[in-house]
Symmetry: D2
Subunit: 341 residues, 4 copies
């Protein structure tokens, strides 16, 4: 299958390229980038030197392909949807442009009037653990936001088991610097960002909308995002407040039932050792989402760790594409991560 | 005033020495350490090379002094209190041994039968922002735990203003590796700890007891501690759920009233720039606690940043000592921290 | 082919397991570890959770296999060689026990009388770029030390081109913490090791012997090793002093001729951009060695970057094994590394 | 004494402000910044919040003062010298504009025709350890470059003792990100810079000129600069090649004689422990330069560690000012650094 990556010089696009170049069923047709057009791919992604001879194409050179993986800034896909749809039968969009089902939410969270609101329903929310059967039938996927993916995977089993009830949920997410993308800024300047440990978005982050939508918790998710020292890692820690007590054994049963057969979700909860809970440190480059939990009187704490560019973006996109294309769900995604990292 | 530091080779003891060696009203009489007895102070604390000629004394060489600063493992001061009390009129204890007022809490949180429970009442909880006038009269202080100090300073103004009401409070704290102290372990092994981002104590951390005690929130504080990449920093982020709405202006008023006159608490909440919220990154070596806040429908988010060895331990201890000894509260504690750090 | 890893719970053993578990021609027969015997492999290597069901075997449970990959502390293989040789036809040893050809060098550099000096000649030095044809015929390989591998790959083309002449060579190597292995120590305690930038071995490091042997520079290599903040990375920067001038074009020709056909050595030298020189940051998990260079009047500077556990140990070992077993040299080693990392 | 800092919003200017605000003999008259004019000082330097009420002044608001500390981009002081000289009797310049004594060197190293070459002789090279008596008489100082300061302090005793002879010297310097200053760039983008370990300037760095000038080693200094993960630290490691052997005792004598009385140079060379050699990690915020050494047949290795913004810039500048103004040399510079850091 011929796949092109549009927006291929960014961090997400680069990871999409890396994964697709190693995918046994995929040929990368084009790597499209406005700013790097004409340059070899390794100029933006030095890890791909000698791995591919591909050079970046300009946007107007985009050719028809079987699938497009769109790694563009928010607001781009929604404006150019018809053009992309004319090029390929399968569209996997990594932006937020078609994640939310209610058109008015785009105005609220992204301050934009959705120019293609009639098309929203043609996209499936790109999180295979919740939408696998729809993705198998879909031609278009809107890949989950990174914080949303982790938060939803942490909380979904609790919600389904009724343990969240009518209570609010608090999610504290910690994130590395690659989540901010390739563009430089004062906030990403190394002397300022290195070793930081601060509130990045105490309230009102856009991913809240996705989490609430997917979990059916409208108005009840309180999300806070912290910037900490890391490049790739993302850890979402959710606090739920069950009405009745719940013990470790019950939580194990709930999570094992939810994720025992999932190819990319692992339950990490050990009573001993130093790897008792999920840590995104060992997930760099892998598509795993590690989920762990604990509880005390009146509270359940669940944390989910991912690589924000993989299960939080490009890896998850390829997992969606595998389902949409009828490939094996794990194909191209077998890198397990390294330890120590 | 002649002050001796007992347990002076640990990280907290080292910071106590550094601060006291630069204190205009203090002469460091002895630095006591079992493991380093006889060695120069710089052997444990390389920053103090050429700053002091002092060598460590063995515990049985402890001489009478005006004040003792006790930086010992939990459980030591409670067993040797009489011996220390016989050496000095002022005792500033950095362990947890006399922080909790209810003797039964030591069994619950520290699995120990308190051997000196009759003396608990002779210690004032060492957090000047809450107990300044008592500390001025006190001969003994039990310095606040690091996570407790930050959490209490974040939440106290909200509690006093009634904004916490009868609701629970969720506190997510992120902490650097020095909080684990000087002893090596697999968890502190650099390849494992570097870049970590994981749950260290999802539930049930001992500092919960102090926070609930000081804020009068028995059974309502849910504390989770994360280990992140940092050495000194500690950031406590508290989520409170007010019954009625509260805006930025009201929060400013509440915090300004609480902390406007505090020498070591700064309010950090800017609408612009990259330093909009507290970041312990710029506090290394300083005694400041930076507090910031935000709110949304149904939730207030407050974060407090400290250096866990300074305002979280040795710096706060010297601040207490200054009050107990009648010194200026800021004396010896004027280092503002560096930027970038 | 059935391969067992002995010393499988250490960092090098763990990487060997990861690579071999993904190798298309290899079945991992056993993972042998004294300290983890009976426990699942993921207890030591959390990245391998769900990747393998293997549990560690005790040393006395070692069964015959086609090949053994020995990841043991220095001094072990030399004492147990006969036992290992009786178990498998191919031995790939990661220790220093058979790297040096002169028996007396073990006394000088490792303070040990070699108990199997008659067998030294049966091992080929495990660096395919220098010994490919011998490795194809070999049954035993002594895999290069990490600093040695990088230094030799940096310098070999210069030596062959006569640019080193009779002059000395200075090598400054910077290394991450995983080079110190799995065992905890005060030097690896996170608060001490984090952000360090110091001389680890200013003079006399053991890898000097390997570099001098392989390059034919007896007594002329001056190696200094620095510990810097990193886990995996190793950068060796060599300074050579040619008698005559040499320009960029000539250096390109020399390195292209030496490495143009090498599957795992890349030349990284760009006049523009931020990736002008090798950086081990993008090599974590990959078997690449990136080499770059520059020159000025009287000096050539060459740097080689590797992942010290991959091209510096386990990856290089598998590359040797591929040659010894007649596999494709790249098999199992296709992970390109991630960016940003 | 009234001192104004010009270029006060940069990193060097910020450290100058921090030090001067705590200086017992100095009143900071103005903090001048073009980009931050009118804003409070803490907007650029968050550590100074509540430490000073000062706001930045615009350049054209500069008033007469006793001394100016000029922390401007290279090329600015040389063009505006007359204007600054008309404002204050003492000028301490942190740029490279007056460091080199030979006017033609500015063309070679800085690609600039010096517009005030007649004034070069009015500046003393700002490194008190080499020019103390001249600085005491001077009205103008050109503060040493950060890499130069460390390299010169490492090597000067060797040169004076004749141990360098007629041989070349190789200097490998490792530097943190603050050396690049406040301006953002792709090279300083956190995802790219974090954990980097690469050649920043393999050859031809400008500081070579200062080192050669101050040590009298024209054409014999080979400097290479590496970027590593750090914000403040700078470690210069010099390799010298003595004709005759030299042992540890002789080196100790040479360095003790050179630096035993220096207030800010410490000799760090211990046979045991983890602090055997200098590490800039413990120097953040301090003005110390720690020097250590080792030797082997044919080579001496000396390393010098500094905080690049303190002894490498602002701290050294204040030390110069103290001498020029007749103050105690240590005044305002007593912060010893923290451990662990």
């Amino acid at each position: 299958m011929r796949v092109s990556v549009v927006g291929a010089s960014g961090y997400t696009g680069g990871e999409a390229l890396r994964v697709l170049l190693g995918h046994p069923r995929v040929e990368v047709a084009q790597a499209v980038s406005e700013s790097f057009a004409g340059k070899p791919v390794w100029k933006a992604h030095p890890n791909l030197r000698r791995v591919t001879d591909l050079a970046f194409s300009a946007p107007d050179e985009l050719r028809p392909a079987d699938a497009l993986l769109l790694a563009l800034p928010h607001g781009t896909t929604m404006r150019r949807l018809a053009a992309y749809a004319s090029k390929a039968g399968l569209l996997v969009d990594l932006s937020a442009d078609f994640r939310l089902r209610a058109a008015e939410d785009y105005a609220r969270y992204y301050e934009v009037d959705h120019p293609a609101s009639a098309e929203i329903g043609t996209f499936v929310y790109g999180l295979p653990e919740l939408h696998r059967s729809e993705l198998k039938e879909a031609a278009r996927a809107a890949v989950a936001g990174c914080t949303a993916a982790a938060s939803i995977l942490a909380l979904a089993p609790l919600v389904r088991s009724g343990l969240v009830g009518r209570e609010r949920v608090v999610v504290d997410a910690e994130t590395g610097s690659s989540a901010g993308g390739r563009e430089v800024s004062r906030a990403s300047h190394h002397p300022e960002r290195s070793g930081a440990m601060r509130l990045y978005a105490p309230t009102g982050h856009r991913h809240t909308a996705e989490i609430e939508q997917e979990l059916g918790l409208r108005g009840r998710v309180h999300l806070t995002i912290h910037a900490v020292e890391a490049v790739r890692g993302l850890l979402a820690t959710a606090h739920a407040f069950p009405e009745d007590g719940v013990d470790r054994k019950a939580l194990w049963r709930i999570y094992r039932e939810a994720y025992g057969a999932e190819p990319f979700v692992r339950i990490v909860e050990d009573p001993t050792g130093i790897h008792r809970y999920p840590d995104p440190k060992i997930l760099a480059g892998s598509n795993f989402c590690d989920v762990g939990f604990a509880s005390e009187q009146g509270r359940i704490v669940v944390s989910a760790a991912i690589d924000n560019l993989m299960k939080g973006a490009a890896g998850n996109a390829v997992q969606c594409l595998n389902l949409m294309a009828g490939f094996g769900e794990r194909e191209g995604l077998d890198f397990p991560g390294i330890h120590p990292a």
